[in-house]
Amino acid sequence: MSVRDVLSPFTAWKNLFRDPVSIPDPLNRAAAPRYRGFHQNDVEKCIGCGTCETICQNGAIDMVPVEGIETKSGDSGLRPRIDYGRCCWCALCVDVCMTKSLTMSNAYTWVENDPDLFCFTPGVDKKHWDNAELGYHCPTDRRITGQVRAHMRELEPETRIDSFVEIVQGYSVEEAILEADRCVACGLPCATAITSAAWNCSTPATRFPASAAASAPTSARTPALPATKATRSPSAG
């Protein structure tokens, strides 16, 4: 121990002459532009496919019918309702959103004394952060549900012109699995196309049993951990 050890702690006093580091008005401080805050939903763009509900590991999302939105071909008429008593702001629902209608604003303050008020349907229940410019949006070049559409080979026009060979060459088994892998098993097309219901999202597994184990989707809505539906546990034995 030296004289320095006794004296140097007093250098802390130099901070007396420093500008304060406190944020003058923390209550109105904006979050970063990418901040994952409260949800927004463009109800016009949303088709109610329920993929956000499927991927939510917290069972925070319910699909509920909304007044003024009709069920029509390509739109189930349901819209996601989010329970903020469950949400963890991981933004997987935003990443997985098929139409990119679900986004997150960078608003972050919501205080209530009634815990039942934290269930809301973004885009339908009006909130002060609706139409916020900043916030988290899924980058356009990243998808977590399958890659781009597998290209189906066709014959070149030069070959087509003098032959009767089938122009569209079809998929190989691997390509077909990749293509089937893009299905999110939302059930929307299957519900309207009643006649082809047998040819629905569960077909790849039955058509290609040999390679089905690799990555083909099993029947509809598999990985969901539904909050209120009958639940299945992978540990069921």
């Binding site: 499927t54 991927i55 963890c88 988290y136 990243r142 977590i144 098993a185 990555s215 990985p223 992978p234």
Partner: protein
């Protein structure tokens, strides 16, 4: 080097089964609970002390106040659904969970994360390390009554959290390292703001060096106190700065380089006296090394290229049967994930190997014997343990 020589004069005799013969009714011993709600405890945990006078004769760590059963919860979530919950395992430094989980999944599924993503990951991990060390320095000084250090380091940490926020979109739980890559690139002007933050942290560390490490009180209470015998390293699985302060250069970044650490220049920081002071000093120097590493990473990092590998659809992603162990060097030591898959879309078993697990249980119980009650807090903080990661 000062070696641990226990003074057993006050120590109670051992019974036949190896436990201590402590007769509480005799009035010679007193049971004292430190925690879970106690200012001198590192988090929500407690230590049951048996004291004789003001000397501790036996200490038992009690954990479980933060147990959420992650390893069970992950067994019923698909691989992508596990990704948001793993970071909750360790609150002050969550990124290692994300990295180790992602790396374990990639290892078993044969996916290679792109080069740019690896640099981003290394950047995040080093930023998280700085956060964790800043938190530690405040706690270590606070445990000895130097409150001002905590005020400074928390401010510096908060600046780093701002950088995290603009990069990842969250302050504490970043949920940024997806299996296969990372979520996004750097925002515009990040380098410059990062450089300002690093400068601020360096100037804070200079003050901390003057006020904490050259403080007569701090030196008096920490030099020669709480020594880890190098022979205990293997017995108790001691890793990280606790081992490096004992003169053993255990550093996963050097021993088994992961991500981009092969391309970075650094030397593991070691100390030799293995007491509380040396451990604090090793962490302080390690923090400054991380500052340097961040500068290197930002200089060498590719600015374009893919951020995430080509992945199968996460909604029905299955991984073939296998098992693996992936480790990284977090601010407290070796952090690792042991992942077993069975060919389904869900992990069969995940085991998180956090360094706090061994440090706070077996090692602390061994070291706490024969020290003064007032030094318990300093000793516990000096092992740098985070309770949520012990019990998961």
């Amino acid at each position: 080097m000062a070696l641990y020589t226990p003074d057993r004069s006050q120590y109670p005799a051992k019974k036949a089964d190896g436990t201590l013969d402590i007769d509480l009714a005799s009035g010679k011993y007193l049971k004292l609970w430190q925690g879970p709600n106690h200012p001198g405890i590192t988090g929500n945990m407690s230590v049951e002390l048996t004291v004789c006078g003001d000397e501790v004769v036996e200490g038992k760590t009690h954990v479980g106040y933060l147990h959420r059963g992650f390893e069970k919860l992950m067994e019923r979530r698909s691989f992508i659904q596990c990704f948001p919950i793993v970071c909750r395992i360790c609150v002050p430094e969550p990124d290692f969970n994300e990295y180790c989980y992602a790396a374990a999944v990639e290892d078993l599924s044969g996916i290679q994360s792109p080069e740019r993503a690896n640099w981003m990951r290394a950047l995040i991990l080093e930023m998280g390390r700085i956060n964790s060390y800043l938190m530690y320095l405040g706690g270590q000084a606070g445990a000895l009554g130097l409150g001002v250090i905590g005020q400074w380091t928390t401010y510096a940490r908060d600046l780093m959290l701002d950088r995290f926020e603009e990069m990842t979109g969250a302050r504490i739980y970043h949920m940024f390292i997806l299996p296969g890559g990372v979520r996004d690139g750097l925002p515009d002007g990040f380098d410059q703001r990062m450089e300002e933050t690093l400068r601020e942290i360096e100037s804070t560390m200079k003050d901390v060096h003057d006020v904490m490490f050259h403080n007569a009180v701090f030196k008096k209470r920490t030099v020669g106190q709480g020594v880890i015998d190098p022979a205990w390293l293997d017995q108790y699985g001691v890793t990280g700065p606790n081992a490096r302060a004992a003169g053993v250069a255990k550093d996963v970044r050097r021993d088994q380089p992961y991500l981009v650490y092969r391309e970075l220049e650094f030397e593991p920081v070691i100390g030799h006296d293995s007491d509380i002071y040396t451990r604090s000093d090793v962490r302080r120097r390690d923090l400054l090394m991380s500052v340097d590493l961040i500068r290197q990473i930002l200089a060498k990092m590719p600015r374009s290229g893919p951020l995430i590998a080509d992945m199968p659809s996460m909604l029905h992603w299955k991984i073939p049967r296998g098992e693996t162990y992936v480790r990284g060097e977090c601010s407290r030591g070796e952090y690792g994930y042991y992942l077993v898959t069975d060919g389904s879309g869900f992990p069969r078993r995940v085991n998180v190997r956090g360094p706090s697990y061994t440090h706070a249980m077996a090692l602390l119980e061994r070291m706490i014997v024969n020290i003064n009650i007032s030094d318990v807090a300093a000793l516990m903080v000096s092992l740098h343990t985070y309770p949520p990661e012990i019990e998961r």
